[in-house]
């Protein structure tokens, strides 16, 4: 167990990180992600208020739809990345990272002016379980009356799972199909056990409970950013290749001006994916060398259990940020060759 933003969480379950990772890619993995924070925004100005705070366009959402977005600083850097769920035209639920929940809560409140919204930090009311992998729908369907096949990617519905009422969302952080279920926190154990039973855990092709380490390797293989690594208050969304969640034409929002200027002038550095091309594993914070010069740092580096390669993300000056660019990584004093590749490293078969 490790401390993770104040939560005691398992790095891995007995099967081990590699098996957990592979099972999620081939069948299903179950993740207890109850540590994630939830902030409830209710009122006539809910959409306008959240649109002021975030870079993506909340106005594009319909009821029952979710959106990946970011809370931005005036500099266009990232307070946090999050999902916005539209429960109703006057009711949004923000799902934020565990380690940043308190910071986000303060940030959101400090930017609340005269908008007609009621804000509630409901993080401790919810548990969140993520069932991910190609078998996710097959496992979850017998536990609910909701027709899961009708929930589209990044959409959700209210419904009961194993007798527990909650939100069923077709979202995830693994690069696989799957669902995230939000339910009252006191039902977490019941829900966890029922899903494991339904997924025939303990059999060679059954669902496996997965820890933080597999969650990290799965998201990295899928090319997804992790707050505190690829993005933080020193990196702008454009540098992090998250221009697709910057809707500069949606109207004013915190950081819009800075992002618009940076878009016009161009970024100085850029987040790139890389693959190690000789023996060795790049790790977080190791330095990147190009033409013998130290030009950047690894933000996440790890073995990729499904791809069986050693991969990572790094920031490099924009003039080097091209697919195929050779670089070296200082792996504890040994220079290891790597090459820039285009993320995602892994894409699931459709």
């Amino acid at each position: 167990m490790v401390d993770f933003g104040g939560w005691d969480m398992p790095v891995q379950y007995p099967a081990g990180t590699i098996e957990e990772h592979l099972r999620t890619r081939t069948h299903a993995g179950l993740f207890d992600v109850s540590h994630m924070g939830e902030i409830d925004v209710k009122g006539a100005d809910a959409i306008a208020f959240v649109n002021k705070l975030t870079s993506n366009d909340v106005g594009k959402l319909v009821d029952g739809q979710a959106q990946y977005t970011a809370l931005t600083t005036p500099k266009g850097t990232v307070v946090d990345d999050l999902l916005v769920y539209r429960l109703a035209a006057d009711h949004l639920l923000l799902v934020v990272n565990a380690g940043t929940t308190d910071k986000d809560w303060d940030w959101i409140n400090s930017n609340h002016a005269s908008e007609a919204v009621e804000l509630n930090n409901v993080s401790s009311d919810y548990c969140q379980l993520a069932l991910q992998g190609p078998d996710a729908q097959k496992i979850l369907q017998p536990l609910t009356d909701v027709a899961l096949s009708e929930i589209k990617y990044y959409h959700f519905t209210h419904g009961t799972v194993a007798g527990v009422a909650g939100i069923i969302s077709r979202t995830g952080y693994t690069g696989e199909d799957g669902f995230e279920v939000y339910a009252p926190a006191n039902h977490a154990e019941q829900l966890w056990n029922k899903i494991l039973d339904a997924g025939e855990t303990g059999t060679p092709t059954g669902v496996l409970p997965c820890g933080l380490a597999a969650r990290n390797t799965l998201r990295l293989e899928a090319g997804l950013a992790l707050y505190g690594h690829e993005i933080d208050e020193t990196t702008t969304l454009l540098e992090a290749n998250l221009g697709w969640i910057c809707k500069l034409d949606k109207g004013e929002f915190i950081g819009r001006e800075a992002l618009a200027r940076q878009k016009q002038e161009g970024v100085q550095r850029k987040l790139v994916g890389f693959e190690v091309t000789e023996r060795g594993i790049a790790r977080d914070d190791q330095e990147v060398l190009i033409d013998e010069e130290r030009v950047g740092k690894v933000t996440s580096g790890s073995p990729a259990p499904f791809l069986k390669r050693n991969i990572g993300f790094a920031y490099v000056p924009v003039e080097y940020a091209n697919v195929g660019q050779e670089m070296q990584i200082d792996v504890r004093g040994r220079l290891v060759c790597a090459q820039i590749v285009k993320p995602p490293f892994y894409k699931r078969p459709k």
Binding site: G16, I18, A213, T217, I281, R332
Partner: protein, 130 residues
Amino acid sequence: MANVPEDLHYSKDHEWVRVEGGEAIIGITDYAQNSLGDVVYVELPKAGDEFAANESFGSVESVKAVSEVFTPVAGIVAKINESLADEPEVVNSDPYGEGWMIRIKMAHPGEVDSLLTAAEYEDFTKAESE
């Protein structure tokens, strides 16, 4: 419960030593491999490299973490387990056998006497995991 063979010597850094003549075969313990998780990469020195006692001779990497490995005895590397390059996972499956790491020609063969016995190591790991 971790496996701790009787006939080996142990270090507090969780390496084991098997003495064969004037040479010491070194690897990491069952307890160590279990705490590390799936081993995906082992970095070893070259034959001929010389190490002082308790000096780092390489590293073992799991998916999540890197751990240095230390030689409990001084000497010159006579041989390394080259098969770990392609099959690092044998460190997990057979830590005291196929998962051995290096064979050292000991500079001071008496050094092994200062290492932990199996019983002492077992007590040490119990205290550490409490």
